[in-house]
């Protein structure tokens, strides 16, 4: 048990030290990784733990981003309240959308999540008066008590660490265990007495809340929100991050986010052909490393004198 705890704590310590490098680049990258890490972990609650393939997770990220930004700029709502509202709205929309989606399975489920995400995208794209349309919602104010990028980094670190702590508890709880049985065999789970759709819906809601929180942080961090964070390739991107890190590991998705963001940053400074590299990497991953980075590492560690 404690072995599983001190590795993440070590990472948190390392992350705390990043601003000490006095490098703007690393602080920015770090904030990005934390935000997308939380986004990816929230998706993995559905994907890796419950076995639900959502092709529209960007919906809640976007709803969180727009809600927080709009409330802060247009209604001058103080940040803590706007942030909480973003999370709440993410949860509520996940509840509504999820209610319809969990009635379906597999491909149909994925397509409905995609359809809803496109509806929300279309709304953000066209509702110029509220969201600024395709010109984006700009000039989002930075919360006053966090007026430096470093402070914002620490704040993000705190929020993400706290969220991960909570999510970890949920995943290791009886509820979390039932989610994995649903992933393994929904029919059997139904016949040990579980209302499977209800559990899937609750998982959907929880993941929506945390995705929205990540989105809210994103909107503030970038001082702006554009509709393309709702467009379906954004949902595909977070899926890729999650898969890259490893869907059967709790921290896998963050590792995936970190690697993807870092590599993308490096590659795009040399060439504009990032998509083809991403495509080949993804294909390579799918064929040879289905467990992702964490899956690969865990298999490696287990092998020498392993007791599995």
């Amino acid at each position: 048990m404690s072995k599983e705890n001190w590795v993440p704590l070590l990472f948190i310590f390392l992350l705390l030290c990043i601003p000490l490098t006095e490098s703007r680049f690393y602080v920015f990258l770090g904030t990005d990784i934390l935000i997308f890490g939380l986004f990816a972990v929230s998706l993995n609650l559905l994907l890796g733990y419950t076995g639900l393939v959502s092709f529209g997770h960007a919906t809640y990220f976007g709803i969180g981003a727009y809600t927080c930004a709009i409330l802060m700029k247009k209604a001058s709502v103080p940040f803590p309240l706007a942030f909480a509202a973003a999370g709440a709205l993410g949860g509520i929309s996940a509840l509504i959308i999820g209610f319809f989606c969990v009635r379906l399975t597999k491909v149909y489920f994925a397509m409905l999540t995609l359809a809803f995400s496109q509806i929300v995208w279309a709304m953000a794209f066209k509702w110029n008066s509220l969201t600024g349309g395709d010109n984006g919602f700009v000039g989002v104010p930075f919360p006053q008590f966090l007026d430096s990028k470093v402070l914002f980094y620490y704040f993000t670190l705190g929020v993400v660490a706290g969220s991960l702590f909570l999510l970890r508890k949920v995943v290791n709880s009886p509820f979390g265990r039932i989610l994995t049985t649903i992933r393994e065999n929904p029919e059997r789970t139904e016949f040990i007495g579980i209302h499977v759709k209800l559990f899937q819906l609750v998982a959907f809601m929880i993941s929506g809340v945390f995705a929205a929180m990540a989105g809210a942080l994103f909107g503030i961090f970038n001082h702006s929100v554009f509709p393309d964070i709702l467009f379906w390739p954004a949902s595909a991107e977070v899926l890729i991050m999650t898969l890259l890190g490893g869907i059967y590991s709790f921290f896998g998705p963050i590792v995936g986010a970190a690697v993807l963001l870092f590599v993308r940053m490096q590659v795009t400074s040399y060439t504009e052909h990032w998509p083809v590299i991403l495509g080949f990497t993804l294909a390579f991953l799918l064929f040879f490393f289905p467990g992702g980075i964490m899956g690969f590492l865990q298999a490696r560690i287990a092998r020498p004198g392993g007791n599995r």
């Binding site: 994907l47 393939v53 319809f100 009635r103 379906l104 597999k106 491909v107 149909y108 994925a110 397509m111 409905l112 995609l114 359809a115 809803f116 496109q118 509806i119 279309a122 709304m123 794209f125 066209k126 379906w232 390739p233 595909a236 899926l239 890729i240 898969l243 052909h273 998509p275 083809v276 991403l278 495509g279 080949f280 993804l282 294909a283 799918l286 064929f287 289905p290």
Partner: protein
């Protein structure tokens, strides 16, 4: 929308009936292109159980290759139609190669891996197109015979489009007839019903799958080839068309042939006329339709109802 649909700018009285008719005919033309891609998509889903994200990319490559072959066959008689033939067959071959050497290795895995592989292909193929042909816009001129326009009431409608409108159902009937009557066709229909049974009957399922993918890709390539004179050949046409193709197969019913035809007609008309009726909501409307079908009748208008 790829077609040059003229937008009705005034909004006072009822639009002129000949204008409405023209819009509707444009929608019908677009529907035929959608039908070609969507039927390939539906066929692949019905037999292989894979939702091929890369189908839009195959369509796009069909257009690019047509453009390439046209400039290769310059001044040859019937250059356009030869180009269409060569281009669509090239795409079919590419599809067969993808299925045979890559996709087939993922059949044992969960659907997520197959889906994401097709998405990886989208990334790769899109960038390939950019590398080979650059980011500029191409177009192909209509075949000399069909350069004119036909008078409809008091407007003019391009002859080429008329041909497409008739060609669409012809191809549809040929296709459907082949499925019904030929040996390969019967095997394909049987495979749609029970894959496992088929392999135990000694049918070469692997070869069958490659043939199905070849045909599906050929349809997409043909769609792209035929659309090249009426639409700009430009990066991004893959992403735009695949979403519309998804909508078509969802509305019509995944795996249903006539459903795809019906779905294409509906989507075509919604795009053509929707922008006149609700200009602001038109973007979201098609996705709302998709969501409604999935919620109320997930198997689409003509699909097979899912059992409980």
């Amino acid at each position: 929308m790829p077609l040059r649909l003229s937008l009705f700018r005034g909004n006072k009285a009822m639009p002129d009936p000949s204008f409405l008719l023209l819009q509707s005919l444009n929608g019908l033309t677009y529907a035929m292109f959608l039908f070609l891609i969507a039927s390939g998509l539906s066929l692949i889903f019905g037999i292989l159980g894979i939702l091929n994200f890369a189908h839009g990319s195959l369509y796009m490559l069909g257009a690019y290759f047509t453009q390439q072959f046209v400039s290769l066959f310059i001044d040859a008689p019937g250059q356009f139609w030869w180009a269409v033939l060569f281009a669509s067959l090239t795409i079919a071959a590419i599809g067969a190669v993808i299925e045979r050497f890559f996709l087939s290795h993922l059949y044992a895995r969960e659907e997520l891996y197959q889906l994401l592989f097709t998405y990886a292909l989208v990334l790769i193929l899109a960038d390939f197109a950019k590398i080979i042909w650059g980011t500029g816009q191409f177009s192909v001129s209509r075949p000399a015979l069909l350069k004119g326009a036909v008078p409809i009431l008091d407007q003019f409608f391009p002859t080429y489009n008329v041909v497409i409108i008739f060609l669409g159902p012809c191809i549809a009937f040929t296709f459907w007839f082949t499925l019904l009557r030929t040996r390969w066709g019967r095997k394909i229909r049987a495979a749609a019903l029970d894959r496992e049974m088929l392999s135990s009957l000694g049918v070469h399922v692997n070869r069958l799958f490659t043939v199905v993918f070849f045909i599906g890709a050929w349809m997409a390539g043909l769609g792209g080839a035929l659309v090249s004179p009426v639409s700009a050949i430009v990066p991004g046409m893959d992403v735009e068309v695949i979403i519309n193709a998804f909508i078509v197969v969802v509305i019509g019913g995944l795996g249903s042939f006539w459903g795809t035809f019906l779905g294409s007609l509906i989507v075509g008309q919604v795009y053509a006329l929707g922008i006149l009726v609700f200009p602001r909501l038109s973007l979201a409307f098609i996705y709302v339709l998709m969501a409604l079908v999935l919620i109320i009748r997930p198997w689409g208008l003509l699909g097979r109802p899912l059992q409980r």
